[in-house]
Amino acid sequence: MSSTGKSYEKVHYEFRPAKQVERRMLLNAFQELRNCGYAISNYEYTGLGSIYFIDFALFHRYLGLTRMTSVEGDTDITCRVDFNCPYKLITVVHDDISAQISRLSTERRHILWLDFDSILTKELLGTVQLAASQLSVQSILLVTIDVEPPGRPEDGLTRWNPTTWMRHYREEAGAHFWHGISRKDFARDKLPATNARIVQSVIDEGLRERDAAFIGMFSFLYADGHKMLSVGGMIGGDEDKRRIKSLNRKELFFMRNKITDEPFLIRVPLVTRKERHYLDQNMPCRSNWSPSEFEMKAADVKDYRAIYRYYPAYTEMLL
């Protein structure tokens, strides 16, 4: 498993609006955690920065994180990754993410984002389990995976259907199948929920011999291209559960109590810059509000209202 695969070649990370909304929502949640007493600025951030380091820049600027490690497993872009590292304070490690997880200090608290771009595999789940075994209490673990059906659509429906998808998952994650699981759980629209349940089971396995639990906080579903699921939460005890429960849920409306809860759908409606200005002037809007100056579906207005605070603005910059 490559930590980045080649997704950095497929899409410019800066033009993934849903992903950026997700990052900003996480940032918002971390700021709230800081307000409720967690020393987030002292946390160590470990992620898969690839050649863009967007999450690193965001968390350094707005959370004040100064201990940051980007892990790159692709040996073909060693120099490129080093070259693109935006801050001296970021340590770039050229190794497997799983090897780096073993090196995370158990004395320090961490934010670890396993931002994979592949579908679930045995190796990927092993890395998640390792993280659950290693991360200290009050650390935050985030896992992102592709939840598109495995295999190739061009093979045709006889070889690309819920039965074959279930076969893939059985091979890669059969140990985490539950009693009564069936091909229905592998229908395209059920894959996010099935993946979340498997990831939860793997995290529980990693925590089995520890005096700590996984407190689910996030479940995002979005698609800038492929449909992606991001789940996350904190490794902690009863006191942490209580503190997380007390977070301002109105502010953090996207938060979840369990990673297996219905995910928060990040949908970014396509609007022009002019439309956006107009929409922003009317935000936050009532639930039945619609723009009077141009046509916009009610569902798009609802989506926009949910994400406008986190929606990135893109402009062309002539360097």
Binding site: T78, D96, A99, S102, G126, Q129, L130, S133, V202, G206
Partner: protein
């Protein structure tokens, strides 16, 4: 309320119980009894043996001449094990040694923890045995015809073994025990006659007692001294190996993981994997199975590219019953809490080494990854030198200038007749194909003005 019978039957212990253990493990159980002699006389504390291994020297190793000697001898007629490890006290023999299971008051510091090993071994091997043991205070003899003894099983009064008190040893050096089993069971005699049994037993002793043999005692098999297993531990020139320790109830656990040393013989599957020791006795050696977590959860299935991996787990406790070993002491109790906790940490500590092993096999066949060179440079080391005050994870410092190699291997096929033409042209009939390749390549560079 009517009471149902729940009486023990000798036949169960003699004919059934003995089926669960291989002969080789029975011999090891008898050697454990010898080692326990040292522990009873205060010459060795098994629960601090790890301290010796890790350089603290809690147990003083005797000099060569004073080193106790365990002799194992066998042929197709008899099996004999004798030692001068201190012997078995007569009172202790009367009250505890021949019980099936130990009393709760008995010290739990010994290798003989379950109270079944010696009896099971003797019942497994033959139809009759003799024991002659002497301490510096007293002595006893015992001779038992197992078949006759098994037949008398009417009451609990039949569950006794006759002992004869004898004189004490003249000196501590002469205090010890001799056990002779004869006649042997037919299948045992056949196994003992096999040449592979002697070598398998010697190899097992060398590994199981790797931390005792040659230091705290001498063991010989058919008059050939056993050499302790040379653990091929490696240490990088620059970087760290994996280490962690923790306590779970009364058990202290130390975990080490590293690469094998290049100075030792080429790593093989025989030496690779996890080694698990309980109070200094190795219960698993070079294990690459699910028992030590391979192929489970975060650990991949062991494949040959992981041959250079070597890991050690030490469990130690004053209460040997808390240790995660099985009654044969050649395996672990996977359900024990302390072992389950250790397994999850073993996976974490092994991971960077396995990633390193993966990188030894790069995508580009022409370029040799730098990891291979680093692996070749691993220096031999000892467990003592791998102990850290704080936990550490395996990390190699790759020299910056070595990250990118400046050469690449060029390989191609050329027709033999063309090679012959070049040899003739250069008037060098013995010129090798590789040299011709280099020569012609350099010729091109010079001709084109590229060099």
């Amino acid at each position: 309320m009517p009471l149902a019978n729940a009486h023990p039957k000798k036949r169960f212990f003699i004919e059934m119980f003995t089926r669960d253990i291989p002969l080789l493990d029975c011999v090891l159980d008898l050697i454990d009894n010898c080692v326990d002699g040292l522990a009873r006389t205060g010459r060795l504390q098994m629960y601090t043996i790890s301290d010796d291994i890790f350089g603290k020297s809690s147990n003083k190793a005797p000099c060569d001449a004073d080193r106790p000697h365990v002799r194992v001898e066998f042929d197709t007629q008899h099996f004999r094990i004798s030692d001068n490890c201190g012997g078995i006290d007569y009172k202790y023999a009367l009250e505890d040694v021949f019980n099936f299971g130990h009393s709760t008051t008995r010290s739990k510091e010994y290798l003989g923890v379950y109270g079944v090993g010696m009896k099971r071994a003797l019942f497994k091997m033959g139809d009759s045995f003799e024991i002659d043991s002497k301490t510096v205070n007293n002595g006893f003899k015992c001779k038992l015809d197992i078949i006759n003894w098994m037949d008398k099983d009417a009451t609990m009064g039949d569950w006794t073994i006759p002992l004869t008190e004898t004189h004490a040893a003249k000196s501590p050096k002469q205090a010890g025990t001799e056990i002779i089993v004869s006649p042997l069971k037919k299948e045992v005699a056949n196994l003992l006659a096999s040449p592979s049994f002697e070598s398998d037993l010697s190899k097992a002793i060398s590994r199981v007692y790797a931390f005792l043999v040659g230091k705290h005692l001498k063991i010989s098999v058919n008059n050939v001294d056993i050499e302790p297993f040379n653990i091929p531990l490696g240490k990088p020139r620059e970087g760290k190996t994996s280490y962690e320790e923790f306590k779970h109830d009364d058990v202290k656990v130390r975990i080490f993981a590293t690469l094998t040393s290049a100075a030792h013989e080429r790593p093989t599957k025989d030496n690779s994997g996890w080694y698990v020791a309980c109070n200094g006795r190795l219960v698993l050696v070079a294990d690459t199975s699910e028992i030590t977590g391979w192929g489970v959860g975060a650990m991949p299935i062991w494949v040959p590219k992981y041959t250079a991996f070597i890991g050690f787990v030490f469990f130690e406790s004053k209460n040997a019953l808390e240790l995660p070993w099985t009654t044969t002491k050649r395996g672990v109790n996977r359900e024990s809490e302390v072992y389950r906790k250790a397994i999850s940490r073993m996976a974490v500590l092994a991971r960077p080494i396995l990633s390193f092993c993966n990188r030894k096999y790069g995508k580009d066949e022409d370029q040799e990854p730098i990891e291979r060179e680093i692996a070749r440079q691993m220096k031999p080391t000892t467990l003592a030198s791998l102990v850290r005050k704080e936990g550490s994870a395996f990390e190699i410092v790759v020299p910056k200038e070595q990250k990118t190699k400046t050469t690449i291997r060029v390989q191609y096929d050329a027709s033999i007749s063309d090679i012959e033409k070049v040899r003739k042209h250069l008037r060098k009939p013995r010129m090798g194909a590789g040299t011709i390749g280099e020569h012609t390549f350099n010729y091109f560079l010079r001709q084109e003005g590229l060099k």
